[in-house]
Amino acid sequence: MSQYFACIFVPDFPVEALLRAEPELRSQSLAVLEGKTPLQKIFAVNENARRAGVSPGMTKLQIEACSNIVLRERSLLQEAAAHAALLDCAQSFSPRVEAAGCNTIVLDLAGLQPLFGPPPKIARALARRASDLGLETSVAVAGNPDTAALAARGFSGITVIPEGNEANQLGSLPVEVLFENSTQESAQILETFSRWGIRKLRDLAALPDVALSERLGQDGVRLQALARGATSRTLVPVEPPLIFEETIELEYPLVLLEPLAFLLGRLLEQLCARLEARALATQELRLCLELDNNNGATGVPAHPSRQSFHRTLRLPIPLLDSRTFLKLLQLDLKAHPPGAPIVKIQLAAEPVRPRSAQNGLFLPPAPEPEKLELTLARIAGIVGEDKVGSLQLLDTHRPEGFRMQRFAPEPFSPQSHRDTEKNNSHFLIQAPSKISSVPLCLCGDDLVTALRIFRPSVDVAVTMQDGKPAHIACPGNKAMQGEILWAAGPWRSSGDWWEKEGWARDEWDIAVQAETGIALFRLVRDRLDGRWFVEGTYD
């Protein structure tokens, strides 16, 4: 079986890197500027701008004369993110990937045909995947890496060069395609070719080898081999680090959360597409906003340097849904607004393996993790972050000895369920036929009397008689007033005496006649300050 290599090439790479964040500019004439004001020059343009007469090297002043040209500053961070996305795209097909340049990726297609089909199908799939990642690319497949790279640079769209037909297909390309970057040396060679009347690769390939070698040396021979599609070299694979980061540098500071959410949505879509390409999910999102503190409108004192605002979103399970992430970030930013205009957005995802879970027909109901996360975030927005979650008892006798923690129920495991059922089998009752799945049922004697806590506790005045409380008075609560019909206690407890927050108390269980019957309360006397209060009611 013949060996094939594919090359993904992104024409006008700086422009494409910017278009990933602003896809609505794709239909407009876009020029990318580089350099410092006032020496800014055009670095790259898209096809529309090229048709309008704009070319790299022009000054900003020359461009301003043209109408309908959108100008953007070159962003190295966005170019790096686009390059990483390109690598992710190639890595999703083949593990042998070579980064031939920031805009050119070559990958080995050996062994991929049984998985993805014949080379033309693979090329189409590569182009589609790159398009999903926001990059318009040219893809070429050939028998060697260099020919694939030349064809990708020279032909737009998808090109498949059959083995043995390389020279014929490459022949129509101009000689400029041999030089990826214009250097002084390449300019000299191109000038020489121009003087010889060589315009196409076909002309270069037809030159006699020895004569070319005598005039241009080994460079000439190498270029002719490239033009003939007859090179042979080993691919130099790279192992790209699993860094998933997207950045947008804004032209104008953002003040409102709504446009910020719009941009975050785009970044999240890109991140999720990249993670999906690598068959990964994320459990942690890190948002870094660069704030413009010089804007006096917000009331924040001016500061010469920009301040960063960080938010980290930790998820209990790996997720890969950009809309869920966006909603979670929106809710988080609503609860914790940045407080100053935003000039740069950086979003990173920590990659993890996606969760693998299969639901069963007979498993107990459980909320979908994505929906549960959103619901918890929304509830936290209503009641406060520290007021929602599951609780964990602390190893202490101190009252209120618990803490709230994030609600992340473990996925249901049938084994633990079976164990629970086995342990509780002695509780099983002969339930009525309509009752289904009754693993635990207690008879009344085994029930626990619940205590309802008053938060905050209710201060009361207590009259003692014969060493026990006889009368209770609480001006603000009629139910806690009157003679104490029955009292049991005191139950004395103390702890943490070696610390500042030491506590010591006497507890009484009391019964008071209320309007609706007898009410049972837990009365407490703080032995440190002598205060009486009602901690709760038995119910």
Binding site: S390, I453, W486, A487, G517
Partner: protein, 281 residues
């Protein structure tokens, strides 16, 4: 509409009564011909609503009284303070979490006691506790500024939270604790809210469980149980006048439950009761 023939006049001079089934068919045909009634299904042809799946409340006596708690329905338990409502709640919660179901407790008065729940056997890992109340003002200044105008009453918070939980779906049990909510506020909860909750859990496996002082959900509750505590003498069996206070202890509660409404069992309202006791954990 023309009058329907109740007798057949096929044979001249002899009236033959039309068979009942044929007559009803005839009526249906005539009714379906009326454009306004084209989509109306006669009551006789309505399908019988399937009875909901029942789950154990965790208390044998209550299961015997009510047949269990219906899934996809609203169950309400009402009673005054110290009547045993919360004990039933904990037993129900314990049974549900031990069935590995995810449960949510919307605690309007923030009265949940974790130690009682632990003694009752509640699995905290599968219980979401939402503590309603005013938002804390001790956060960042920006947060305070944003939330200052949005401080809500606990009942309003609870209604919004319950809406979110029910819309999220997947919970085995959602409990609304109105036990300490003042009667005025509890009665102000609009019936439409209860109706919305009832419709949200309908055809789902969620048990919507409400405890309150007086019936609040009214007709939206498929099961309504009233509990009451018994006399003081039953509080402690070891209580006597000679016993010193430090030797006395609260043994538990004697609880009596009365079935006020059940759309499932069709038992006569207010005539069926059950009694059981609780122990201090």
């Amino acid at each position: 509409m023309s009058s329907l023939p109740l007798v057949s006049t096929a044979a001249p001079g002899r009236f033959v009564p039309v068979a009942a089934s044929a007559r009803s068919m005839l009526i249906l045909e005539r009714l379906s011909a009326v454009p306004k009634l084209a989509g109306v299904t006669p009551a006789s042809r309505l399908e019988v609503r399937p009875s909901p799946q029942m789950v154990s409340s965790g208390i044998r006596e209550l299961d015997a009284l009510t047949g269990g708690l219906p899934r996809g329905c609203l169950t309400e338990i009402c009673g005054p303070a110290s009547s045993g409502r919360t004990s039933i709640l904990l037993a129900t919660l314990s049974a549900a979490t031990q069935r590995q179901e995810i449960c949510a407790l919307v605690d309007i008065s923030d009265a949940f006691n974790p130690h009682s729940a632990a003694a009752a056997g509640v699995n905290f890992e599968r219980m979401l506790w939402v503590r309603c109340g005013h938002l804390q003002k001790s956060g960042s200044p920006q947060r305070h500024r944003v939330t200052e105008n949005k401080i809500e009453k606990p009942v309003e918070q609870a209604l919004r939270v319950t809406d979110l939980l029910l819309q999220s779906g997947g919970f085995g049990m959602v409990i609304i604790d109105l036990g300490d909510t003042p009667l005025k506020m509890a009665r102000r909860i609009p019936l439409t809210s209860w109706f919305r909750f009832q419709r949200a859990v309908e055809h789902t496996a969620t048990v919507l469980f409400v405890i309150s002082q007086v019936p609040c959900a009214r007709t939206c509750a498929s099961l309504l149980l009233k509990v009451s505590g018994k006399k003081l003498s039953t509080v402690s069996s070891q209580l006597s006048a000679e016993t010193p206070t430090h030797a006395q202890f609260l043994d538990g509660l004697q609880v009596q439950g009365e079935l006020l409404r059940s759309r499932l069992e069709r038992k006569p309202a207010g005539s069926v009761t059950a009694a059981f006791a609780t122990k201090v954990g």
